[in-house]
Symmetry: C2
């Protein structure tokens, strides 16, 4: 159980790729990276929203090849390190090698919280390349704590240098974050990380709970620029940490300035918590389920939230979108009273 | 130490009055109130942002006389009760009587956290009128816990049926909320309430901390429609409480719908946490200081945040805006290195 200094990873150029429909330009990536580097950010993640290789018809085509964006970000960094995300099944070994060659220093290998075994090859390959290799257990709210520990230990056994509790749906409550981080800290010899979404307006509080239990790898997104309601708002988290006497060596005023002047203008809509993002956090399901559920609800005369809640209870995972119609049909039979 | 069921007060038609520059129309108030009443909201606060009588050149003129708005809200309520806010020195006894006559059932009498003594007459008058009378201790982060307890006990002695810890600047951290609510619960025989602002993205978490320590009067604003970064987002809080098994008898889906369809469209900008609101929460000062500090900063070549931080340390209160230039001049002397 190692206790190291807290390291922040800024994810607006990766998780925020969803928010801008993967339309980041080289100039935008350069401007954001330069400002983050100047403020002293530790890691800056740059990839398609769904990780390396995510630019497809299924996940959304990127305007600019992510390798160009990674190269631009590396070029702007004087001290910050560029990180990439890789979801096995979407990203490949060859893309990881290419990102490494361009100067990416760290990879987070992300799997569903029950499927850590698919991360083995990518983690060990990253270590062989000399990259930092971290595990990223997504939808961590949907599995029991002991299962999460088991999966994290698998990632550790593959060579991961940290494992993240990843609250993909923004569904965890603070005490649930605490118990997960505590369990991992008690069972692993490597660092533990936390990645939040703000769908229930708890991202900053959940991150504080994680830090209190010893998480040292922390994700944030400036101005909440990430999927759904966005992530832990980096500059707000840093202000709160400063108020609590925690110094991570990042310039707060510079972060506030770049949030206002450089990142803010990139946000196409707003990162407020609206009906859709709240429903996702409340139900604890993938954001891709929202549109499908709305369609199914219209067809069967249901409230889409009832479908989302049922999917959440059934712990349906990404890729099982075809089950949504079945669930809706079943609900419609049961709930003839609701229109 | 009474423990009663949790009662929610929706403040978007009062705290949100600041956000819309006091331009609420009768129709807007009717629409919002009707939807809130239908969802089962307990109390709906309707007043100028600075409370009864706030419509002045100094605090901002209302488009519609608040008495008309109160009357309209009362007319729409079948079960919800209409509440008003009164800050002694701004609102008067005569305005309180008028609001009562129009059907307002509850008044929150608000003072700075060191000035509870000015609430005596208004609290006792409200009780005589047969209204519920609650105390509202503003800027509760800026005084030591024992001082807050002393002031709350004063309000209790005047006849207040509950006292609120009011985090006007959105500056409290969860553990600071816990200690304040706990201290008040331990010292008062009446209910304790909590009113948050979201400047540090902690409004929902702080509210949960307050509830955990026994606060039973809870404020929220749909879609964060309140001053600064807004208040605890009511529909999000209700979703989280539902997830925690707390039922307050308010229909969550209806709240989500009215947030999206009725309140959302009233918001002129966005309620995201931006540079200004974050600076206020970080420094712990009144929102009215922001513009003054920016002006003073420009004049003395300072960063406005340094002025705000200094004002926060000095615990300057509303009405002392004239001190801002002095503070800036003093800072400029000391900090000649910063430009």
């Amino acid at each position: 159980m190692t206790k190291k200094p807290i390291q922040i990873t800024e994810v607006c150029l990766r998780d925020g790729s969803h928010t801008v429909a993967h339309q980041f330009t080289v100039e935008q990536v350069r401007n954001v990276t330069r400002a983050l580097d100047d403020a002293g950010m530790h890691y800056i993640e740059v990839s398609h929203g769904d990780g390396l290789g995510g630019s497809t018809v299924q996940y959304g085509k990127s305007l600019v090849n992510e390798m160009e964006l990674i190269e631009a970000a590396v070029d702007e960094c004087t001290n910050s390190k560029v990180a990439v995300l890789l979801i096995p099944g979407i990203g490949t070994m060859s893309e990881l090698k290419q990102a490494h060659k361009l100067g990416a220093k760290l990879v987070r290998v992300a799997t569903h919280s029950t499927e850590a075994d698919v991360s083995a090859q990518h983690i060990s390959q990253a270590r062989e390349l000399g990259m930092e290799a971290l595990g990223f257990l997504m939808m961590a709210h949907s599995v029991p704590v002991d299962k999460l520990v088991e999966q994290a230990k698998l990632m550790e056994s593959y060579g991961a240098q940290a494992v993240y509790v990843t609250d993909s749906a923004g569904a965890l409550l603070p005490h649930q974050v605490s118990e997960r981080i505590k369990a991992l800290r008690g069972s692993l010899d490597i660092e533990v990380g936390f990645h939040a979404h703000n769908n229930l307006s708890l991202a900053v509080a959940n991150t504080l709970a994680a830090i209190e239990e010893g998480a040292t790898r922390i994700d944030g997104a400036v101005r909440c620029l990430g999927a759904g309601a966005g992530n832990t708002q980096t500059e707000v988290l840093l202000a709160v940490m400063d108020r609590m006497g925690m110094d991570v060596g990042i310039d707060l005023y510079k972060m506030m300035d770049l949030a206002e002047d450089i990142v803010g203008p990139l946000i196409p809509g707003t990162q407020e918590i609206k009906k859709g993002s709240l429903a996702l956090g409340y139900a604890g399901v993938y954001s891709s389920f929202l549109l499908h559920s709305e369609r199914a609800a219209a067809r069967f005369g249901l409230d889409p939230r009832d479908i989302l809640m049922e999917l959440g209870k059934m712990k349906v995972v990404g890729g099982q979108e075809d089950m949504i119609l079945d669930v809706a049909a079943e609900l419609a039979k049961k709930e003839k009273v609701r229109v």
